[in-house]
Symmetry: C2
Subunit: 490 residues, 2 copies
Amino acid sequence: MATTLPNWLKQRAFLTPDREAIRFEKESYTFGQLYEAAKKYAHYFASIGLQKGDFAAVLLKNKPTTIFIIHAFQQLGVPTVLLNHRLTAQELNFQLKDSHAKLLVCDDEFDSLSLQLPNDCQKVLLHQIDLTSTSSFRSEYDLDEICTIMYTSGTTGNPKGVKQSYGNHWWSAMGSSLNLGLYEQDIWLCAVPLFHISGYSILMRSVIYGMTVHLFEHFNEQKINELLVKGEGTIISVVSTMLQRLLHDQTEPYHSRFRCMLLGGGPAPKPLLEQCRDKGIPVFQTYGMTETASQIVTLPPEYSLEKLGSAGKPLFPVQIMIMEGEAILSPHKAGEIIVKGPNVTSGYLHREDANRESFKDGWFHTGDIGYLDEEGFLFVLDRRSDLIISGGENVYPAEIEATLLSHPQVEEAGVIGVKDEKWGEVPVAFLVAKQRAEKEELSHFCRERLAKFKTPKEFIYVEELPRNASKKLLRRELRAIFLKGERNEH
Amino acid sequence: MATTLPNWLKQRAFLTPDREAIRFEKESYTFGQLYEAAKKYAHYFASIGLQKGDFAAVLLKNKPTTIFIIHAFQQLGVPTVLLNHRLTAQELNFQLKDSHAKLLVCDDEFDSLSLQLPNDCQKVLLHQIDLTSTSSFRSEYDLDEICTIMYTSGTTGNPKGVKQSYGNHWWSAMGSSLNLGLYEQDIWLCAVPLFHISGYSILMRSVIYGMTVHLFEHFNEQKINELLVKGEGTIISVVSTMLQRLLHDQTEPYHSRFRCMLLGGGPAPKPLLEQCRDKGIPVFQTYGMTETASQIVTLPPEYSLEKLGSAGKPLFPVQIMIMEGEAILSPHKAGEIIVKGPNVTSGYLHREDANRESFKDGWFHTGDIGYLDEEGFLFVLDRRSDLIISGGENVYPAEIEATLLSHPQVEEAGVIGVKDEKWGEVPVAFLVAKQRAEKEELSHFCRERLAKFKTPKEFIYVEELPRNASKKLLRRELRAIFLKGERNEH
């Protein structure tokens, strides 16, 4: 039987109407005001024909209006497709079409993008929205209902839309609070994009917990440090590059109320963790993904050096195993990380084949490689085998390779991530050419079709790509070639 | 689809094996030790034939062994029937038979009770249990599965066994933490019986939150005050009589870590609340019942005087309405309190008729009378119309009346609760006699058939009982008669 809960925002506005929900620059909104705003937007969207069961996409930057619209869609029972505004028009067109979105809500500045809307999809720019009236909508949420769609690329093929239900978000919020606790004074700083699960999940926690979220359009280390020193933020979600920038800028110790630096996006380098320990900064490393509605494994600060490189233990509602084929592996044996829990997606939108492959007996096969130690701490070795994490964005080599292969002069392509001081990692392409193209030409070609962070920073021509007996590309060997080249250069 | 979670105790022992789970007198157990103990007991119970789907009853006082056995049954997938050891043999016999219990585990001291076990029910005394081996059992709990049975009496008929699922306990723990918060240093003092939902729910929270429970066999105000002054308890569950005894005994202010006096069992008198305010004691008044797996409505301290007499607003996952017949009533109109939420029982064991009456469209009709004010605060006027709460125990007039009517010399009987300094309320009986029996004889007659706290403290003979046109007993008028009598006496 599906569990129903009261409409979260309505319930929160009823229970604690005057508590602060959102801070953004000089603005502040209570939960009562947030609910009123969401109802006005919902009334408008209903008036232009949006109805329960339709999907609606948003291409919006981090700001309060984005939050109002996200909640407005929830009032209507309309799943939100969260578009990454760093993608190209071509990438966005794919997601709009694939999700069957009936509506696209855009920041005015994105109007210039040459989007090809599906025939039955209307576009609304923020300035066109008319908020003269208000209505109340549903009184309950069904935990099995789809709340959001976020696209993620796998190792092969097109990006897939991850179906995240209300229940996935609810259980994620519960798992997080059982691990991190829940304090009356909590304020969660959100300087990560709302179109990523790292940002969106903070919005859900805010309404469920009755907690203030302090939202930022961009990450700015000076502003964040100022708040952490004053104790006007108790938790913040970051990736390594953000943490590095915070430490570099920091001149005063953080306030004792600051209790959690939640660090996602891959294992952090030891010197960074040592610096945090010396400064008394409580770093919680975490492993999670769009399919698990954010964190699924977290390492508390007391283990951050002892268990260096580990992502920690599962959150309370979650189980983890390491498998190879049909076999469950024993500690210290590396294999595929598989996970189970009520925060895990029920599958990809319109992708029955991928679902059959990734979901078996209630377990989700992540495609990531790792092992458990004898105490059950997870060590992630490779994300989706070859995932590149660049400035907190997931970059899949296969997607870039497919783009490069569509260039008429490219015969074969292999992409790897290489270390980068600013972004953590950046993509580098190895090419076998039919006829060598200029690197500027290749860069321009990619930039037209891929987001900037996916465009390779280097193009290296080789005679052949390293492959195994079954012709599978050996990206590890590309890494070795790259490192050798680097050593020869310097 | 039913939600499955990892076996709570196993997961907790895996995540935080060395954290303290239980304190009791000079004993202390970690979650790792608790899990090991539960597995040993589970192995023993399995070895004597207990298996998944069987029901097992416990007649045990508050002590660590009771907790081990409760968790052992959960390892086996055996619902626990929690027997109140203050009941008479006759009352216990009913519950054993009604629940189809296959096993009764008893404190040795209760061996002398003349229990009539059902034919296929075996009895085990604690000293007979043999803990030489251990086994691991299930890795998951299904939230729809029955975890516990607790008996509760309605206004009519026999007591009914409330089916409490793992999900009911889980959602109750979530609702409580979303309201009260979840602090790393929390220690919940449990001086209420584990066979009541008030006590049992603390055990569930302990394992789910990873929180220490400090257990007491009996409530002792000196011991509790000592801990609260030292800050060795942050939350405690009490009823009014316990709170009164604590205040009476208190000489030093409580530690700042003490953050919640959770006060159940009916509205508290104003002078008591004023005293708490003056002493800075954070009282959270609460309304809940066996059917809602503990708290469902809670009033935070900042409202305790402003909203005097209110039980507060619902917990986050819960909805409340006031109904009369088919009509939903507007604010300040009194009617039946109906509730909905994932912590609410799916129904009574083997009582299809009662279930049809009490559960409609997912809403549970509590039988309690109350109203909501314009802000949504609940005011409870009458619990189950005429429920008497004596020292935290629910006493149903109808049950006592039925017993009195079985006496050959009693023609009619009406029972009400009257104020009592020590117990809050005590039952008093009004009788129309065929032939007047001695009061000692009536008291003895009741004492053989009813728990001591249910035995009327006074028996008052009257010519006739006040009844309405349809001959329904008017207990309110009995109260008026009693008060008039009291005034005449003094």
